[in-house]
């Protein structure tokens, strides 16, 4: 009897403790939601308001609400001020090609390192991993000097003209970022975990190594491909320092550089917020659609570290 009473009081205190715990957790979580969400809400709401009203609303909760003179005028202004469709196309082409070529090149190299036996592969893997601690910023300036010396060909009608330097091209925004030590390493780890008996079975059926890569290993590597796609897409889309240095022509500029246009003459903050929203919404939409992959990809980058 006494045993029963004591156990029931125990559960009682336990649930009460559990409930206060839940309330506390939800309260702290909610305060933090304000901290993280309000700046973004402010950006979206301001993009819908004329400048005068943005400033008038700053001191109150109206800054975070779609109240007052709401219109799409800032968005219309953005399209007048910058060739937005062109910038968007450039960014889609640049980040799309960087991601696609990166998946191909890095997964093939990782396959050779993880599943084929040859002398020196340990050394090559070690060297690739050692470059992971070199931040791109340290290489940006020597790389800028160097790409300016590289030969390039320019299509001029039907003839290819030789030209020195890669500055002001698409390829300078894509090719240097295709081979990626981090992506290679993620593929390597994943390929290493796929049973090798599959290769042997395919070998006996007469498959060559490239066929094994393409028909056996890659189809099993969906999660690794998603991880690499996401982790190489974000920096490609957000890239700013590099295009700032290497691109002069308007028709080659990516979306991030377009922000500069709004600070040349009279700055309209409403338009800045509208443009910022326009270039943020596609990535946020991708994130919300593939949230599980996003979270898993970042998580997987850390665990093995």
């Amino acid at each position: 009897m006494s045993a029963m009473t004591s156990s029931s009081t125990h559960t009682h205190t336990h649930t009460r403790r559990g409930r206060t715990h839940a309330v506390l957790v939800t309260a702290v979580r909610s305060v933090l939601v304000l901290f993280f969400a309000l700046p973004i809400v402010f950006m979206l709401m301001s993009s819908l308001k004329p400048d005068q009203q943005i400033f008038a609303d700053l001191g109150s909760w109206r800054a975070f609400l779609p109240v007052g003179e709401i219109s799409a005028a800032n968005y219309a202004g953005v399209f007048d001020r910058v060739p937005f469709a062109r910038f968007l196309l450039n960014s889609v082409v640049i980040s799309g090609l960087t991601v696609a070529l990166g998946i191909l090149v890095n997964s093939m190299a990782a396959f050779a390192l993880a599943r084929l036996r040859w002398r020196g592969r340990g050394l090559v893997l070690g060297l690739v991993l050692a470059t992971l601690i070199v931040p791109f910023e340290t290489l940006a300036l020597p790389l800028l000097w160097w790409v300016n010396k590289l030969p390039s060909f320019e299509a001029d009608g039907f003839t290819l003209a030789f030209k020195q330097g890669w500055l002001d091209t698409y390829q300078v925004q894509i090719v240097p970022f295709v081979a990626n030590a981090f992506a290679l390493y993620l593929f390597y780890q994943y390929f290493d975990s796929i049973p090798r008996e599959l290769d042997e079975a395919a070998r006996i059926d007469g498959a060559g190594w490239f066929a094994i890569y393409r028909r056996v290993v890659m189809p099993l590597s969906g999660p690794a491909i998603a991880t690499v796609a996401i982790l190489t897409f974000l920096p490609a889309w957000n890239s700013y320092l590099w295009p700032l240095m290497v691109v002069q022509s308007e028709e080659l500029r990516p979306v991030m550089i377009g922000l500069q246009y709004f600070f040349q003459l009279d700055t309209s903050w409403g338009q800045v917020m509208a443009y910022s929203s326009l270039i943020t919404i596609p990535v946020v939409a991708l994130f919300l659609a593939f949230q599980r992959s996003f979270i898993n990809s970042i998580a997987s980058s850390g665990v093995k570290g």
Binding site: R29, M43, W118, V175, D205, G302
Partner: protein, 315 residues
Amino acid sequence: MASTTLNPPPAPVSGGPRSAPRRTRARAGEATAAAWMISPALALFLVFLIVPIVLAFALAFTNARLISPNPPEFTGLDNFALLVTDPVFWASVRNTFYFAVVVVPVQAGLALLLAVLVNAKVRGTRFFRTVYFLPVVTSMVVVSLLWRFMYEDDGLINKLLQALTLGRFTPVDWLNDPDWALPAIMLMSVWQGVGFTMIIWLAGLQTIPAELYEASELDGAGTWQQFRYVTWPGLLQTRTFILVTITIAAFSLFTQISVMTQGGPLDSTTTVVYQAVRSGYEQLQTGYASAISLVFFLMVLTVSLVQRRLSRERG
């Protein structure tokens, strides 16, 4: 061998003298295949990673300029002599360390708090995780512009602080005040980056077996004791990884400075990377910029080696 019996090859395997050359041929085929498959990546690494690394070292000892008809000339340690006498360079080193020393622990700590909160078995986890992560998918350029607007003299932050304190708060011109400009950028950088770190902590938290928590609960451990004796030791590997990655990211501070303050006011926000870009790109002095990059590279290398050593010793 088991697979041979299941799926017999066209030619019978007779063992003995025939199988040895066969295996070597297979090995050679494997090496050739490997060479073909790895060469695109290696060629790209060579041209766009190894060459720039070598160049960063080599050009640092020359007077190379970005656009110049003359080939670079060897100038010995001139660039470095110029560097150590440049007060702006020393300001940039100080600011870079100041930024890293504050941002690394604050971002790691706040991210751990967020991860523990999100990991708690309380309803709404997915929603909260999503919101905390939103700044990460917002580009740093956009974030910097947005906060630059919010930090203005008569901007959102001053106005809200005034409203919340019923007018007792004296507005601060955050980005134009040498004492406040860098702290303001720190706050914004943590806001943007902490969601990323949170996810890495979360992944680490989920590798800790639930039985450990159940066992410690039976032993009567409170929330804090559980954290101290179960969670914290379980996160050793994650801790090292987070420390090294946030530190490298903090040292590389550039975009925020370029968009928000251009190093000012009074060089109070200039950083090593910002100085390298300014001299290499705006002033076209590739040699001098390479010298700064080289110093920066050595800084990052030293700090990450020290961190690895320290965390290994403690672990």
